[in-house]
Symmetry: C2
Subunit: 453 residues, 2 copies
Amino acid sequence: MQDHRFILSSNDIPHAWYNIAADLPELVPPHCHPATGKPLTPDDMKPIFPDTLIAQEVSTERWIEIPDEVREKLAIWRPSPLVRAVNLEKHLKTPARIYYKNEGVSPAGSHKPNTAVAQAYYNKQAGIKRIATETGAGQWGSSLAFACDLFGIECKVYMVKVSYHQKPYRRSLMQLWNASCVASPSQDTKVGREILAKDPDTTGSLGIAISEAVEDAASHDDTNYALGSVLNHVCLHQTIIGLELKKQLALAEENVDVLIGCAGGGSNLAGLVFPYVKDVLDGRGPKLIASEPTACPTLTRGKYAYDFGDSVGMAPMACMFTLGHSFVPSGIHAGGLRYHGMAPTLSLMHKLGAMEARSYHQNAAFEAGVMFARTEGICPAPETNHAIRAAIDEALRCKETGEEKCIVFNFSGHGHFDLYSYDKYLAGELEDYDLPQANIDKALGELPTAHAE
Amino acid sequence: MQDHRFILSSNDIPHAWYNIAADLPELVPPHCHPATGKPLTPDDMKPIFPDTLIAQEVSTERWIEIPDEVREKLAIWRPSPLVRAVNLEKHLKTPARIYYKNEGVSPAGSHKPNTAVAQAYYNKQAGIKRIATETGAGQWGSSLAFACDLFGIECKVYMVKVSYHQKPYRRSLMQLWNASCVASPSQDTKVGREILAKDPDTTGSLGIAISEAVEDAASHDDTNYALGSVLNHVCLHQTIIGLELKKQLALAEENVDVLIGCAGGGSNLAGLVFPYVKDVLDGRGPKLIASEPTACPTLTRGKYAYDFGDSVGMAPMACMFTLGHSFVPSGIHAGGLRYHGMAPTLSLMHKLGAMEARSYHQNAAFEAGVMFARTEGICPAPETNHAIRAAIDEALRCKETGEEKCIVFNFSGHGHFDLYSYDKYLAGELEDYDLPQANIDKALGELPTAHAE
């Protein structure tokens, strides 16, 4: 029987992260201060990040060593398997070969612990006792809770209120890993109290939760902040995905033709594709595809501009593809993809023409996820379904053309805590809306001005 | 960095199951007809099982070939990893080495698909279009749903009513895999309607659900029945766990001293230990430990006798350790361990003195599970926590004596759908009851009489 799973040993966990800043033909424009619009200085970031992470955020070194203590913790679940989806291929009757890198095998169930472990480690090294963060559906919050618990750091999670009530199990997971989790907006911060005073019944948003976590970190001496996506150092930590993939594809004796990831803040996609971007820019690389929801089409309909990282203008501005920080996507189940912006590194890469972007309605995404679950067995996260949809579409195109392409997608997480959304899909209760251009135009009309030069 | 995960390739999936009947010094007494008490004939079983499984149930051949089609489907997730729990060892400061065989990596999240895939395959071969089964917490129902979907067989699951409402996500998983799932007792069977007529508010029980599924299978020509534990052929299919383990321990250059599994119906424990039993009987083997709940102490306080497989006397009698078919355990969260009987093969082995049994209260079990989640990352199923508790106790004993034992336990499943019970435990809301001897005596006083000689 041919082996369809390509598994590495702990020793194959990369010894260094790959920093794409070393190989992009342009520098990523600096992040800017939300109040002044001027480039952030390291001192601006010190109240919420340790020096090592600030240095990684602006580094142009190609390789950044992974500390042994981080590799040891990553070894709890890494390297993640690369699996050939033979049953899906047979079902599709495609000549293409479809592989997925299974990041769902981590304790928290997604790629997020890759950076959570690194961030918890560097904060521990800096003597930090407590980390505050936000979470939407709970993937990031549970990942950081897990990582903080490994290093004995306290963890406070501001969880978007609607998810806090709809996804109690991810909250349970955070508590299991010793974190404290509150519904956002909360009474625990000034910004939370102000929003609740105006609108006690608000469902909350990721932007509000970010604002609360940043305020918490900035106003407590022993507390730092941690972000689960978007920032350069977060994408850097995720590059172990693509670095492992290269070794696994060599084992499988494959050259990848198409690389696919879903894109919310961008970190799982960045981690998958960054190690391939130099080849792409040199004209030798695979086709790269970002798959995003039609309800939050940052790359396909957004603008490359400076915008705030959060929704209320407290977080720094970044130069990125954005729909405008005031843009509010409809309530799709892929909560992790409901972000107005996109990682600046990934955004620059996309601006340089190194990547395609596609958007899918959620019914089309769930259709793909159900097909995957019924052929390959594993139930994917709603976010991941967007990547699967794009992979299936590529494979069906190969069926038409007869091309025997090698397609790899990032299986960013499992859907064990999202089964409610599958019930809705299977009951035919999910609706797809076309997003009016006026909604985007309005939010883009409210972009802030940076003074980066 | 030393590798702590021992991973095999698809080619290492065993080519044959190991049948312990070939090596036990006594034959497992025959199953008997529930009405007559006389040994079941193959003809008695034909209405609900395919011939191949009936043959496996009574076979004394040592090795039974695994069909290639079954191995191909098992390869979706097998071989399962053997992992050394180094973080748990460090936390315990034990000189023992603790390993776990991670059966939680299967699509349904437990060891159950190992037999579900085999049973679905043989039913498909026999031209069966539909399979009916029961499920408690949903582990078995979701596993059979997954397996039936792989082979295009319809699947009907009778799910114990209290779990049907308390564990909606395992129900969602069954629906995702195309199964139809009803709360038991249901209006779909005669036995269900009778029970509902007497007690409309009953919470149901595994015994009732078995009765419904057996009736469904016996009364539909195109429908067979499938059981997730207890029977000889089910334990047989699980032996791939122990067979893989032997290869993995050779890779790890270990000789196992203690082998541990939790025991409800007994199949995960059987699968782990059967390949080691001949060594044990020859005086060379590891110590084998069955870990069961104090609330349902089948091996530690039950009797070796003939009893019905279900709670109402419709299913065949088996010679096994039992608390009596009318015994109703308290509502502990480890639903999969709330069964009055125990696999006859495992029971005989225990009667022969080849295995120890221990019982734990649920708070002690959850304490172990939380320790595991906080050190090794993965959240275990409440059932699995019983095995972890016994492993931790063995490791702590080694700490006292200084012995560097090699301890292996079966991580029978993850707890992603059981987080509610962790919430209860962490909130201090789980209660432990001492089971009065009178309850056991009463149920044992109602044992049926078999005429097996």
